[in-house]
Symmetry: D2
Subunit: 345 residues, 4 copies
């Protein structure tokens, strides 16, 4: 059995997670890592893991003849050019979300991938979460009948730093995009219309950049179901990621994960620990599983669990939400083309 040879572009927090996960698969091998800020610290990190090639130039990986697939974990603005280069070089691609903040560019990237005949998986890690997968299984399996209402709660423990807010693309493109993908994943149906309400209640820094920190987004699905997502940039009790799908035969709901099941009863009341703090703790296994399925797809030709089209659709919903908030009215996905044209004028 030959190993799948991997290059990782961008060795920030998420790039390192993918590296450590890849090391746990006997059929994968990390050939090289590129990072703009490669230095002594990263060299030590790579050495400990037996990674032979460390470079500042992503081109060294893209053009490396001994690499089969690339993990694109660099900043969002680099995704589209890297996808195009990688596709042209015949490399399979795992790319973090979002592909880009511009639907036109995302479409170009997807087209490049299609032409090259390579595989492109998008890092919608939550699809691999044990809880959300179980919801999806119940929905697809018919346990709850026809879906009528999809509810998603998605709250971060604390807002990102100001400099990140500025370039984040806004709450809908940066944060809720996971939830938009989840809405499609759980309902098994496409979103057709979006209405978003948003407020700045957490930190006025969001207002400075025309962003919001609290939002409720309602969705209409092709199959007639309705959806609602509530987002906050700051849940002081920790990462809050829950969903419920309600349908003609019942509902299925998942709660948060907790570090333990300890319940303390005292004269003051009943108490337990907060949920797992943030995405790294909550989605540890999900990150491992998305890589497992990517490797499986490369090794055995199984279908990708989440591809470029999924990335594109989530971005479309995010854009519709942004426009809805700006226009103060519901926005149809089918309107996006015209609305973008108008705005471009």
């Amino acid at each position: 059995m030959s190993k799948i040879r991997i290059g990782i572009i961008g060795a920030g927090r998420i790039g390192k997670i993918h590296a450590d996960n890849l090391r746990r698969f006997a059929n994968a091998e990390i050939v090289g890592v590129s990072d703009l800020f490669a230095g002594p610290e990263l060299e030590a990190w790579a050495a400990e893991r037996g990674i032979g090639l460390l470079t500042k130039d992503s081109g060294d990986l893209v053009n490396h003849p001994g690499i089969d697939a690339l993990y694109i974990c660099s900043s969002t603005d680099t995704h589209v050019p890297l996808i195009k280069q990688a596709a042209q070089a015949g490399k399979h691609i795992f790319c973090e979300k979002p592909i880009s903040m511009d639907i036109g560019q995302t479409e170009e990237a997807i087209e490049a991938v299609r032409k090259a005949g390579v595989k492109l998986q998008i890092g919608f890690n939550r699809r691999f979460d044990h809880n959300f997968k179980r919801v999806r299984e119940h929905v697809l399996g018919g346990t709850i009948g026809e879906p009528h209402i999809v509810k998603i709660t998605s709250r971060d423990p604390s807002p990102p730093p100001k400099e990140y807010i500025k370039v984040s693309g806004g709450l809908f493109m940066d944060m809720a995009i996971h939830d938009f993908d989840m809405a499609r994943y759980l309902s098994g149906s496409e979103v057709t219309e979006v209405y978003a309400q948003g407020s700045v209640l957490v930190d006025s820094a969001f207002a400075e950049y025309g962003d919001v920190d609290t939002a409720i987004t309602t969705l209409k699905f092709e199959n007639g179901a309705l959806g609602v997502i509530d987002n906050s940039r700051k849940a002081v009790y920790g990462y809050d990621q829950r969903v419920e799908v309600f349908g003609s035969k019942g509902s299925v709901a998942v709660a948060n994960d907790f570090p333990n099941t300890a319940v303390v009863s005292t004269a003051d009341g009943i108490a337990s620990d907060k949920p797992l703090h943030f995405f790294l703790e909550r989605y540890t296994e999900a990150y491992l599983d998305e890589t497992r399925m990517f490797l499986d797809s490369l090794a055995n030709g199984t279908p990708l669990p989440v591809d470029g089209y999924d990335g594109l659709q989530a971005e479309r919903i995010a854009l519709a939400a942004k426009l809805s908030l700006r226009l103060g009215r519901p926005v149809k996905i089918s309107e996006l083309h015209d609305l973008r044209a108008q705005m471009a004028q």
Copy 2:
């Protein structure tokens, strides 16, 4: 201590509940009951309870010199005329929700009450629910800081009969009106804008009458918070009444009530019984407590827990929701006056 003498107008299901609850208070006495369909069965019912006066004519109670207060439990279309008559006769009033389906008429009824100087309590029974009261206490007590998001789930176990759907006033005025009151009650703030999405997914009978059976309504509050209510006419697993208020310092959420806490673990999985079936089971104590507080207000002058204005505001939100669904856009409460004028043309 003299007893508060009560007349009950309308001896249907809810009128009978109020009667049995009143009998548990030592300081209340049911003087008479009126019902259009008074007959042998109702006579037996009244006799068992030692109720001396049974009549088909509500006027016999309204004009009865030995009656201090009236419970109006007859059909919605009779509420406004009865409130006016009762007020004129100097009787205190407990009236089931909604006061009417026409905001103008509701305003007239409230004005009549104000002029007469009598008390008017509206039957928003859920305010007295042990769970929702606890949420309110936490919100008012500052446990969760400033409210940012108010979420209400409100689903009935099964749709009403077709003949009721026809005259119900629609999902927003008939069913969600409780939730609109709850939104005000829990947030401690007024609703300023409403956007409603609705679908017919449960029963096409709703479509026949221009109604929906599934809805998601988003709210904006004066204090900047956002709200969302999801409604369904049919939750096959039973009455589903949950709320969550999320704020700057945390969240408080309440789940359904269950007939028991039994958890069965077998080779098939973990199972427990469904929630309490419907409002009669769920709100048994709440119905008792709303009467307790009404009697307290009459006996001791304590403030009414929910008054005519609360009834009116909930109707305004319901009307805004109806109009939002019809117009396909968010509707401000401040627009209602103009929109009603336009529609009246």
Copy 3:
């Protein structure tokens, strides 16, 4: 329909509860109440409830020709003589637990009842609890197969006053007796052997009277199942009453009841309110239901849900537990006769 005419002997806390519960049944009427300490306060209480006869002499009720049944709610030492008198007078009897602290006397009381052909229900109120009833239904219905292990947790929120401890009969006869009845009720099998461990960990007052405040009692059942009860006189978080029955096909477990379902999530963790404080709050409905079934049995001849034999068996287990603790070894129920004879010498 003629009403069942009731006399209540002992108008302490529990006697008053039975009185108010009886008032809610249309087919019952409280004819009189006796209490050694009858005075102005009790007179007012009786007057409010329209109870015509208030006396210090229980004989006035026992011998009252217009009384069908007696509730014996006076102190434990009066139970046996009152049962004998009532039986002789042809009155049906509802008697609080325990019948007595002496098995010989209890047997005499039961024999008197049998001879007189009257009914005797014992106040094992927990059998009527919604949770425990559901466990029993599952066990009898076969949901969990053959019972293997019965676990009962039974802890009071705070110890009784010192003067009560002195005359209480000790933890096993006073407190755990409910659990011994529950063990029989849930398992559907008789207890054959008892081993008890006990400690004084809560309050040294218990040691003064040769009593314990913390105990673990293990049981063997006729059907081969094992049982365990843990008791404490002081659970600072409130009344703790849970059971689990584990069997060949699974388990069924019930948790405590809570005043509400509110869950508060803050930076400090997840919190909720303590369980219902004590038996009056926890078993409100159970007290009502035991009276309902007693009245049903008198009116319609349905079987008593818990009778004198049940009272006797629970006392036997309690005695075995006491002896086990004293002897430091397991004690068989079948040994009790001999052990009592030895001790009598």
Copy 4:
């Protein structure tokens, strides 16, 4: 930083788990593996993991100059001789539980370790479980005050094969030994007395070997607390591992772990998935953490989290439980010496 060089004796299920866990630590290296049944399959397994040395002879590892520490994962009867050999060879030791089924031999092994000055960690993996650790933290931290009652539920999903039952040492030495260790770990106190009840309710094969499959064991602790453990060899709903410690200031309890948090509500009731199936699923992270702490102790001199003495004490309690069941009376740990002497005659 030099790596800790490890040899693994016994490459069955648990040996392989330790191997894969060791591979995740950058400061550990598996030098060799021995297994009586080493063959092509095991060779492939070792090759995939880059393990250079595979042998049938454990001596090849014990006497290997390039090995610092040994994992003893072979059958229980080999533990004591291997510990003695390893100690003599100056190797640190991680040994699966129990050390042996004979207290005298266990004492000899511990003495050999002490003399050699090597480290010996026992595989009481449950101490590293996230739930049980949290209970211990609360107990040691004083959250619940003085411990009064320690309750442990420990049930396997299905009984072992008949041939294993025969050599297992019986329920107390094979299965409950984990719970005996847990009792010491959670209470922070030594067990002084044991009373065990047991039945054969699951499978008559247990009776054939003088064993039981269902047991309730009560414990007395030095600090006055009481304890109770209930064991079953067959919980059809899966691995059931829960504990509760109740004390003067409250209680702390932990529930099972589940594969997901999905709750399904349908017309049939509320349902969720069974707990994690067995120890491999439940204690995945605990196995990793016990190795982490073993390596830490070797690398940094931190204290061992569980040592030979802990192994010995758990065996003493297990022996007391066995004798209690046989003798039908409570057995003190301090009696063990005499009882063993009597039995040896």
